[in-house]
């Protein structure tokens, strides 16, 4: 690990002005610092900032940036009104990691692409312009949607997929003041600048994520992975679906493991709403999801897997036995 200076932030303004990399739980950053994938010269510790509350706001909830994943998953309001978020958090990492991992840090976690974490390999995300070894290489966990010639990495997290389905909003404090960005717009597609995972600028501090008022419906988070716990998603789906008189009254879905960001396409819900659930309908929804899908070889299986997982989730939530 490269040497760095360390300071605890006394206030959010401190953290923004510190000209330093923020460290929260450290569960992703320290991992990458040990590998020298991240080599910050200054760290500012934001753990003791007063950003650890979950409070009612605007009919929904405001979740402070350093609220631990375990506390958020166990919050009774989240379990009751936003079960999809609780389920997504509980499906991620391990009990120990969730006790450290924070809301802000989880949003900003970096890809698990094996070339990104191997400094002996070219990687456009780690070293812009060096090339992408995953294209034509080991790409079993990589993207089937929205990838570019520069990078085919996926965003690996679970929490943000549920937050995308719930249409949550990220609150950010920067050198030019504060702003809000929808979770759906927070992560980026790689394009020609895969070194940028999301819309944050270097000095920006995430202060909170707000959930809108709860929507009616049944919640599911389905995560398909190589082992049944303590593993990242190959495909995951966060869904809230409400039925009314045998028809789908409302639906909100987001997908993990498929792209450089939690995948949200409003056209999928549009296909479903107002219709009676059926296998044919679920197939149409999967057609919309996968219209632009492109396998890379080792990850081709994700295309049929995403279709089958969508079938299973919709069948579960609508009561249609697929």
């Amino acid at each position: 690990m490269k040497a760095f200076t360390y300071a605890r932030a006394g206030s959010t303004a401190d953290a923004v002005a510190a000209d330093a990399m923020k460290i929260a739980g450290g569960t992703n950053l320290l991992d990458l610092m040990k590998l020298e994938v991240e080599v910050p010269r200054r760290l500012v510790d934001i753990n003791r900032l007063p950003l650890a509350a979950i409070e009612p706001a605007g009919g929904g909830l405001r979740i402070g940036a350093v609220v631990r994943n375990s506390d958020l998953a166990a919050d009774i309001r989240v379990r009751r009104d936003y079960a999809v978020l609780s389920k997504a958090l509980l499906a991620g990492a391990s009990g120990q990691l969730r006790n450290k991992a924070t809301t802000g840090g989880n949003l900003c976690q970096r890809t698990r692409c094996g070339y990104f974490t191997d400094t002996a390999m070219p990687c456009n995300k780690r070293e812009p312009g060096s090339g992408c070894q995953a294209i034509g290489g080991f790409n079993r966990i990589h993207a089937i949607l929205g990838a570019s010639d520069a990078c085919i990495a996926t965003y690996p997290g679970d929490m943000a997929v549920a937050m995308s389905a719930l249409d949550a909003v990220v609150e950010i404090e920067g050198t030019a003041g504060s702003r809000s960005v929808a979770v759906r717009d927070f992560h980026r597609l790689p394009g020609n600048t895969p070194e940028r995972d999301n819309v944050l600028e270097a000095d920006d501090l995430i202060t909170a994520v707000t959930l809108p008022a709860p929507v009616p419906g049944r919640h599911a988070y389905r995560k398909v992975r190589d082992r049944s716990s303590y593993a990242f998603a190959l495909v995951s789906i966060a869904a809230v679906v409400e039925m009314d008189a045998g028809r789908i009254a409302s639906a909100s879905l987001a997908f993990g493991g498929l792209a450089h960001k939690p995948w949200h396409d409003p056209a999928i819900a549009e296909i479903l709403i107002g219709k009676a659930p059926s296998k044919a309908l679920f197939d149409k929804a999967a057609d919309v999801l996968l219209a632009g899908a492109q396998g890379q070889g080792a990850n081709d299986f994700k295309i049929p897997l995403a279709r089958r997982t969508l079938h299973a989730v919709l069948a579960e939530l609508t009561g249609e036995t697929a």
């Binding site: 040497a3 460290i23 320290l30 379990r79 009990g95 120990q96 990691l97 450290k100």
Partner: protein, 164 residues
């Protein structure tokens, strides 16, 4: 330089910022009960209890814990005065090589408290409810602790008996 309350004793250390909590415990505090498996959050051998919560000490900097209370396996019990979980691990033969055992016991000690607080898990059907610690619940909640000797059935039995 960080000062931590380790197993009830306040101690201060002169260490580089890069020192992980794990390396501080083993190399600076001389408490080698806590083990280093992967050093990347992937095995749970380094699990200790900080401020009442189980964490991976390998993915935390010692300086971040200035002022914190840390409990390691040495603080849970001694050879002549074992904790209930330590006793259950012995009576159920819940190990082979024993390398993962300190992490398993620290993790399970805190996990039982999490369950008592009513926390759900990924295998809880209805996350609004607070389930009993079934074997399935124990396995899921302990998935952050790997055992290369695969002593899992006996680990689950020891935890089940202690939690009951």
């Amino acid at each position: 330089m960080p000062a931590l309350v380790i197993n009830g004793t306040l101690r201060s250390f002169d260490c580089d910022e890069r020192t992980s909590l794990l390396d501080l415990l083993r190399n600076h505090a001389g408490l080698t009960g806590t083990k280093k498996g992967c050093d990347h959050g992937q095995c749970g051998a380094c699990t200790v209890i900080v401020e009442g919560r189980r964490i991976n000490s390998c993915l935390s900097l010692a300086v971040m814990h200035d002022g914190d209370e840390v409990t390691t396996i040495e603080g849970l019990g001694t050879a002549t005065d074992l904790s209930p979980l330590q006793r259950a691990f012995v009576s159920h033969d819940a190990y082979q090589c024993g390398y993962c055992t300190p992490g398993q016991i620290c993790s399970a000690t805190a996990m039982i408290e999490e369950a008592r607080m009513g926390w759900p898990s990924a295998v809880t059907d209805d996350v609004e409810t607070s389930p009993e610690l079934s074997d399935n619940e124990i396995r899921e909640r302990m998935s952050g602790n790997l055992c290369r000797c695969a002593a899992y059935p006996n680990i689950v039995a020891a935890i089940r008996e202690t939690a009951a």
